[in-house]
Symmetry: C2
């Protein structure tokens, strides 16, 4: 057991996975939960999510040793303001937001003296959301980035690291600025691009939606999975990680234009070389255990 | 049994999957195979791919009722020229190329009188290639598009349709122009975009390759799978489906700029609406059995 009492604020995919995984690892004496809507709290109670579901955030965080904010990035500041007066001295408050600079700016001012704010971000997710979408294995062998702020207490950081390791993660520390750039590359820009491509397909007159759907197996359907993620979460990500996303988007457009030009001018060698170079990264990802080499992810063929 | 003798020219992912699947369905009395390199022919013999592996294409197609060209799109013309004199009268010659207009232009002129050319394209694949990558289930419940040319014999088209249905596919007919546009949307442009994004990530100074690899689970790794496909195949696709790809790329860039502008100006509503709209297509794909709803494709967490 690492913490006596853990409070989860927001009860979606990430919070519910934290709960099931903390239970699996017996990492917490007790876990309380709170979500803003009665519907979510009811669902949570019905499926046994958390030991206690509270009707107010204040109640949920009372006496908690660790409070994790599991709400969309744009809601972190308001939630922090709401719970701040109820935090116990010496408690750790953390979050799981996909963006770190903006969350720190929004949350930090509300943290009372004697409470330790240690931002975090587990790099694990699926396209599903809500209290029923979580599962204990979500974080297994995935990375969790801790982003300690100035003056973070080393012992408290070590404890939080142990908690995430207990959830199955590999843990690394990183500063907020670098975190936001790395994520712009590995997550935020790919998501924007996938959303865009799916939007284009949806919008064409000359190719019907039903054709797009039927013939999606040739590559497009992977984009649709990425683009099926929660709209609120992703709106907030782009609103708050604006600079890094725009920087990477700029680089992306530059490269895309170079490849587009090669297609237009018939420069097959340039394309071939480019397509050869990108294979090495895939190899690295499989070797690092971050994906499987099963063809097509080992998808089973659909029902007839 | 639909054909007495089937010849496969080129022995990569698609040809080997056709063989294993034809065997499973007992669709052919005999299957011969040919690949240009001795290494591939040796591998094929060693793993029992095809009933007979021939050392020349001429030998492989002799007396065949169905010949399927399974080489990169850019090689179709030369291969057709090579085998044309050896085709038996009444035979059907087909292909599996990912582009149809260019393949028809390249192959059609070589087809002798009395031989039936019926282009086809199975919309199924993985990121792997070569003679060892095929498997019998590849085409199950995937679509195969037949693209009959002017004057195609209806009985021969029906036979080829039955063959592909025997391989597990659903079959539809389409004209070449529309095929190339649909594929530009569902496959070619997504691949180009994925290659571009992986190239950008590989190229950044401020984010190392090892960071990209470690933290890929947040979305990027799906792009790397797509961008791990065979460089020759994809060079040929873009060289030969230039117009449709450039058209869709133009639409893509237009949309991307609109979303980029929304990020820059902080227009969260536009992003939210866009991200909501794209979810419907995903639903359609799952309902159509073209993907599974298992979170994260049911990927199992990597080894520790
Ligand atoms: N999904 C991923 O792949 C992923 C991965 C890593 C990190 N994250 C981060 O984890 C956080 C939660 O994501 P998730 O996927 O778990 O989301 P989710 O499944 O959509 O759940 C979000 C939760 O936040 C609550 N919430 C939403 N808007 C709120 C607001 N304005 N004020 C208070 N509560 C609000 C929701 O309450 P109701 O149910 O009552 O509406 C719900 O309980 C986000 O910051 C996200 O960036 C997500
Ligand atoms: N992979 C997919 O996802 C997919 C899906 C649908 C359709 N297709 C289409 O299917 C066709 C084959 O793709 P694949 O994935 O099976 O490819 P693959 O696994 O890379 O195999 C290609 C085969 O073509 C031979 N070949 C390559 N260049 C040649 C040339 N210049 N002249 C003669 N033979 C040549 C190779 O011979 P060696 O082994 O001797 O080098 C190999 O046997 C392509 O037209 C592709 O567009 C692919």
């Amino acid at each position: 057991m690492i913490y006596n009492k853990v409070a989860l604020i927001g009860l979606g995919l990430i919070a519910s996975s934290i709960f099931w995984s903390a239970k699996r690892g017996a990492l917490a004496g007790q876990v309380t939960g709170y979500a803003r809507s009665a519907a979510t709290r009811d669902t949570a109670r019905r499926i046994g999510l958390c030991d206690t579901i509270c009707d107010t955030a204040a109640e949920a965080v009372a006496d908690a040793d660790l409070v994790i904010l599991c709400v969309p990035v744009g809601a972190m500041g308001a939630v922090a303001a709401e719970i701040a007066p109820h935090l116990k001295p010496g408690a750790v408050i953390s979050d799981v937001g996909s963006v770190k600079k903006a969350v720190i700016e929004a949350v930090q001012p509300h943290i009372p003296d004697g409470v330790h704010f240690i931002p975090a971000h587990p790099l694990a997710g699926t396209e599903h959301s809500g209290p029923k979408s979580g599962f204990a294995e979500l974080f297994d062998n995935r990375w969790c980035l801790l982003v300690p702020v100035e003056g973070s207490d080393a012992a408290k950081v070590a404890e939080l690291r142990a908690f995430w390791e207990g959830l199955g993660s590999n843990v690394e520390e990183m500063d907020a600025e670098h975190h936001d750039l790395v994520l712009a590359v590995t997550s935020h820009t790919p998501h924007l691009i996938a959303y865009t491509m799916v939007g284009v397909a949806d919008d064409l007159r000359r190719v019907t939606d039903s054709e797009v759907i039927k013939y999606s197996a040739a590559g497009f359907r992977d984009f649709t999975r990425i683009a099926a993620s929660d709209p609120t979460m992703w709106r907030d990500v782009f609103m708050t990680n604006k600079d890094a996303t725009l920087e990477i988007l700029g680089r992306f457009t530059e490269e895309l234009f170079a490849l587009q030009r090669a297609i237009r001018t018939g420069d097959g060698d340039l394309l071939f070389d480019y397509f050869t170079r990108t294979r090495a990264i895939r190899r690295g990802i499989i070797d690092a255990g971050q994906d499987t080499d099963a063809p097509d992810f080992g998808r089973v063929a659909g029902r007839k």
